[in-house]
């Protein structure tokens, strides 16, 4: 037991390393807490606005259940591509496996690490909703106790499910030679299947709504633990509490006991495949001269496709872009219906504002796609190789940004050209939108690399830690979201003043100025931050 407690302590300390900023970055040590408070405050404000409506019908608990459902889905979706990276082929495998501890303990520690991170993540969303409920309802002390317990228990079920999916993905990919690339494909397939299932659940929800006796009845049918939680805070019964605890704890125990052997067999299989599968009998040497920039981008792309968690996490915005462009081009009537009220009032004329709609799609998806925010951290100790090369730091920075452009810009331009043909957009506006499709990924890339240079994590144990658990990723996502909201607000404000074509022109000019200023910042400050990087 003492050993387990020591291991848990080490594990928790390790998880908290996201908040430990070293060297130059330590002067921003309060930034994560300020950002966390900002996010929680914005969720609280949203919850409070909804709560004022629900106060009238005395259904305040709906807010809490909405947040529980939302975080559960997010944890599960995120866990699918995070779990295999977090659980398998960890750098401390050899250390832990040589210690005199049970295999189930090692597996438990792996899952616990996953759990602790999700607990922090879930708390950011759930705490504001729980606090909002407390402010509006003034519940008894039991509410607080149940809520604290729920906060601790609720991440378990999505984690157990995504761990199982992660094990399946790792098992399937371990059978292939290029394990990492296959892991990326299989994860995309799993997420694709989930999206298809999700999009076909409309009729299921309709049936649920038709047959439900009350809102809580619907919640229980959609996600039983959430309904049980509502029962506990509205009509407390000891039996419900016991069921609630067991419902979460038992799957966790079953997971640890039943899958520990499977886990270790797959983990060792992955390593064997890595050694044997990668041996190439071909001795002919492919020696060719490439320009520095091209060689650098090739190296970065190789890293990207070989790191499933990196590609899945960073390119999510691009997937949304493809879906959005496809919907706009082939399912525009659906949007028209959504933007028309029951009285026939058109909230936004989508067909009359296609250039603005395309601009907004490019803005949102570019700013939410960030490949560069982990590029420096992913170098790890090999950053010394880069620093010893005879290349100026600003060139290295721009080669990394250009990798983002290589991935994003062609997809963006193809999507836009399809839309131009479909909606007969005039050449001048088309050209401006194409310029935006280059400038916006450039802005996103520069923000990512600037933030990563400020908050590098060169001593990470694995890629997942860099991609999902680093301050740089967290801040870049927050800045991207913030800029998206500001840009969308700006575009709509401009729309009130000038016509759609002029909106695109003004927005393009503003984005070009921002990109240039960011480049200047990267050249001066980014270079200095690069020179300060130490492993």
């Amino acid at each position: 037991m003492k050993k387990l407690i020591t291991l848990i302590k080490v594990c928790l300390k390790d998880n908290m390393s996201i908040f430990k900023l070293k060297g130059n970055a330590s002067k921003y040590k309060y930034l994560p807490f300020i950002l966390a408070l900002l996010i929680m405050s914005s969720f609280y404000i949203n919850a409070d606005q909804l709560m004022s409506v629900l106060d009238e019908v005395n259904l305040q608990y709906v807010i809490v259940t909405m947040f529980i459902l939302g975080t559960t889905i997010m944890t599960f979706m995120e866990g699918i591509y995070k779990s295999s990276g977090l659980l398998f082929n960890c750098k401390d495998d050899d250390l832990l496996l040589t210690l005199p501890i049970k295999r189930s303990t090692v597996f438990f520690i792996r899952v616990l690490k996953f759990y602790v991170f999700e607990l922090i993540f879930n708390s950011l969303f759930l705490l504001p909703a729980l606090a909002c409920y407390a402010v509006h309802v003034h519940p008894e002390v039991s509410y607080y106790l149940i809520s604290v317990l729920s906060l601790l228990l609720l991440p378990i079920i999505p984690i157990v499910l995504s761990t199982i999916v992660g094990i399946v993905i790792a098992f399937l990919s371990s059978m292939f030679k290029n394990k990492n690339i296959m892991q990326t494909y299989i994860s995309f397939i799993f997420i694709g299947i989930l999206l298809i299932v999700w999009s076909n659940m409309g009729t299921l929800f309709d049936n649920l709504l038709e047959n439900a006796k009350s809102i809580n009845d619907i919640i229980i049918k959609v996600y039983y633990p959430a309904g049980l939680y509502v029962n506990l805070i509205t009509n407390f019964k000891v039996l419900d509490l016991i069921i609630f605890i067991l419902l979460h704890v038992i799957p966790f125990i079953i997971l640890i006991i039943s899958l520990k052997n499977v886990y270790f067999s797959i983990n060792s299989k992955i390593k064997i495949v890595k050694k044997i599968g990668s041996h190439n009998k071909d001795t002919s040497l492919n020696i060719k001269v490439t320009s520095r920039g091209k060689a650098f981008i090739k190296k970065e792309l190789k890293r990207l496709v070989n790191t499933p968690v990196y590609i899945l996490n960073s390119c999510f915005g691009l997937v949304i872009y493809i879906i959005a462009i496809a919907m706009i081009n082939f399912k525009i009537d659906m949007f028209k219906d959504m933007l028309t009220t029951q009285n026939g009032e058109v909230l936004f004329d989508i067909t009359g504002n296609i250039p603005i709609v395309l601009l907004l799609i490019v803005v949102a998806t570019s700013l939410l796609t960030n490949l560069t925010c982990c590029m420096i951290s992913l170098e790890g100790k090999s950053i010394n190789i880069l620093k010893s090369l005879p290349i100026r730091p600003i060139d290295i920075i721009m080669y990394k940004v250009n990798t983002t452009l290589t991935v994003e810009v062609p997809i963006m331009i193809i999507g836009l050209i399809v839309s131009f043909i479909n909606f007969k957009i005039n050449i001048f506006i088309g050209l401006l939108l194409i310029i935006c499709a280059v400038i916006l990924p450039l802005i996103s890339g520069l923000i990512g690399i600037i933030v990563n240079l400020k908050f590098p994590k060169l001593d990470a144990k694995d890629d997942t830690e860099v991609v999902k658990q680093s301050m740089s990723s967290f801040i870049s996502v927050m800045v991207g979201m913030f800029l998206t909201f500001v840009s969308i607000g700006l575009v709509f404000k401009l729309k009130e003043l000038v016509n759609a074509n002029l909106v695109v022109l003004i927005a393009t000019l503003i984005f070009a100025i921002i990109a240039y200023l960011l480049y200047l910042y990267a050249k001066v400050k980014g270079t200095k931050d690069f020179e300060k990087l130490v492993v």
Binding site: N180, K274, K275, S278, H279, N280, D282, T283, S284, L285, N286, I287, K288, V289, T290, S291, R292, K294, A295, F296, K298, K299, K302, R303, N306, T307, G380, K381, S382, N384, I385, K387, S388, L389, P390, I391, R392, E531, K532, V534
Partner: protein, 234 residues
Amino acid sequence: MIEIKKVTKKYGNNIAVNNVSFKVGDGEIFAFIGHNGAGKTTLIKCITGIQEFDSGSILINGKSIKKNPVECKKEMAFVPDNPELYEQMKAIDYINFICDMYEVSESDRTERIIKYSKLFEMDDKLNDIIESYSHGMKQKIALICALVHEPKVLIMDEPFVGLDPKAVFDVKEIMKKLTKKGTTIFFSTHILEVAEKLCSRVGIIKKGELVSVGTMKEVKGDKSLESVFLELED
């Protein structure tokens, strides 16, 4: 040539390298020895431009690493103590990448890659992913990359760690050949016998300060390098 003048590097209040000065001439092999944590790697990182230093100057063939880092790095190669290479790449792709960065012509790189990969018995393994290599094999790839662009200054941090005896012998022979061409070689090591037999000059660092520097004869006199080193460290 490497000229180190009054270099000081601090980590907060901790002085890692304190006012160190010495020169390593053309065609010279210089061994840099000291205990773990004495400041060897820190100074090496300063020389190679990987790490900034607080005061003093470092000149590579007369050019300042602070003022002209790119020019200095063009003439220099660095072999780190722990070869952290790009693991997902094939070794040949990685070597090609390094050649592209140093702008080595196709004919030169072809000739040198074949020469050094055969010498280190890696010629039939260059199409493998680096991730599948042992520590020693990675070290050999790091050495090939350092040699492939024919640097005028070669800096190595513990270059013999993890190498098999034949590779150690080959590296020593290469070092001797390179010095005949005028290459400056600076390396840190814990293997005092190698330093004693191979180097023309030696420097001993203790707690960030250079406690002894000179030709092998000046430093050790009639004693062994090991006994001098232990005496200085006590």
